[in-house]
Amino acid sequence: MKKIFFVLLCVFVAITSSFLSACGKNKEELIFYNWQDYIDPDVVDMFTEETGISVIIEPFDTNESMYIKVKNTGGYDVILPSDYMVQRMVNDGLLEKLDMSKIPNYSHIDDNFKNLYFDPANEYFVPYMWGTVGILYDSTRVYEPIDSWEALWDERYEGEIFMYNSVRDAMTAPLKMLGYSVNTLDAGELDEAAALLIEQKPLVKAYLGEPVKDKMIGGEGIMAVMYSGDAQFCQFENENLVYTIPKEGSNIFVDGLVIPKTAPNKENAMKFIDFLCRPEIAALNSEYLGYSTANRSALELIDPELMENPIFWATDEEIARCEFFEDLGDFRDDFDRVWSEVLIGN
């Protein structure tokens, strides 16, 4: 019986292994694990033309599912995760230290995005795009230009306000309005913020995710809490919409390039990262995506008209008032609890 089992196992392994793809080092290839449609395709073609390295883009849908794949399988050369996920990947030892001598264009990166909390010595992470959470509003229907989170509590806009349907993004507004950190670990502060959200509830038209974009473009509301990248898309379709980063500060995020330890083509990966750090390439990507580039030298190359828009550019002071999301640890449960109280409570 044991023998039979062993023979069956061998047959099984043999069949399966014949289906495995070969993973030899291919000099002329690079596998880029990225968000779908998060790079200008022309830029990829330019890179291939210049270096002869063909780039295969593989999309992922969330930082979390990307993490599972990268932790368990190899084969990806360059990955583009968000800030908090980089922290987790560094802690788990998944990332390769970058050889900065091979990425000379790193010097163009904005100082605001160096020495971040998850990579204090700039060893693993090359910033790519960043964005903020702010208010998108219809400039033809507001009584005065909006510059504060308090507008979301203004009774004149009853039934015309959209809130973002996710815990941390929704909690950002009341926490910042009260002058607290978005990463607060204080139960009292959290309860105050939740009470504000409950007070605001009668004014809110809906708590929405992605569909809020189409609603704002269609003019179904006056203002919405939104990510700057989404706001740019809305402005492109409806020019009455204006985006603002409230004066109390907000949440800021940055996505960037990392190389996993398992990358088969590390040399190509460094070349690719350096290429993306060239100012003219960063400018192309920024204009294509409608996100702010973390490349300071690229700002001079972007259409000056765009630069007046806080979606593309914010002053150092504005950036300084914004905070990155940090992992809350066990306190995450408290956030979830008060958020569900807001959603079901009266």
Partner: protein
């Protein structure tokens, strides 16, 4: 009463087809958003055929759906015949065993297949996930569905027919191929179409069992909803696929109808 019946049917059909109609209409929208109508345009169809990533994914998807449907149908049909020939207790055990993957949440199937493949990669020390593992997992989750759709047909089969064919001098294979197989055909075709569609729209298992550089349409569509919103190219692609499937169904049905007519005429003549 008749009005009520019609209205009921109409409501059901509207629920089924309204989303598809909306999708088709917006695939011709010049604007990128669903919030505004920017005028009629074929722009997204043009963009679609220029988008190498999507075309490559379409190719992967169709290839995997076709190969996995055919393979799973062959294995599943053989399994149905085998299960039917078993004694009562082992039959029940095997049937329940093959039902488990159907009930199992996709995420469990996906992650466990990934771990299994990685275990084998570790064992032989080379290779990686990719097209092959994606194909294998699609075959795997398709097999029980084929078995379940062929099995009732096998049960209906009169065992005497197979014996009669052999009595009349047919060899075992001939009697299977010429006598048993045609009787099972409706179940087999249903199973194969079922397998094909399941493979087309699977996301979770595909995501976990594919490797670097190989993605199918569902992975791309699912990922594009994450950060940048669904691209209207996807609407165009879905419209295109819907029309092709509709045409295929139409052709198949017309052929069937014709054959039915022919057979009736023959019957009348003889």
């Amino acid at each position: 009463m008749k009005v009520l019946k019609r209205a009921y049917l109409a409501v059901i059909l509207i629920f089924l087809y309204a989303p598809i109609v909306v999708l088709i209409v917006f695939s011709f929208n010049e604007a990128k958003s669903r919030g505004v109508w920017g005028g009629f345009s074929l722009k997204w169809y043009g963009e679609l055929f220029k988008d190498r990533q999507i075309i490559q994914a379409l190719y992967n998807t169709l290839l995997i759906a076709a190969i996995s449907a055919v393979t799973a149908t062959a294995i599943g049909t053989a399994a149905a015949l085998g299960i039917n020939a078993m004694r009562r207790t082992p039959r029940k055990v095997i049937l329940n065993l093959s039902n488990i993957p159907v009930m199992n949440p996709d995420i469990v199937t996906g992650v466990s297949l990934m771990l299994l493949f990685l275990f084998i990669v570790g064992l032989i020390g080379k290779g990686n996930l990719g097209f092959g593992t994606l194909l294998m997992s699609h075959i795997t989750f398709n097999i029980p569905y084929v078995t379940l759709s062929v099995l009732p047909k096998v049960r209906q089969l009169d065992p005497a027919i197979y014996e009669a064919a052999q009595d009349l001098g047919a060899k075992p294979f001939t009697s299977f191929w010429r006598v048993v197989f045609p009787q099972l055909l409706p179940g087999i075709v249903t199973g194969m179409i079922f397998a094909f569609t399941l493979s087309l729209d699977d996301f979770v298992i595909s995501f976990f069992t594919t490797g670097p550089g190989v993605s199918n349409l569902s992975i791309i569509i699912y990922s594009s909803a994450a950060k940048r919103g669904i691209n209207p190219e996807i609407n165009a692609l879905s419209t295109f696929m819907f029309v092709v499937v509709l045409l295929l169904l139409f052709l198949i049905n017309r052929r069937d109808a014709r054959e039915l007519k022919k057979n009736k005429k023959k019957e009348i003549r003889t």
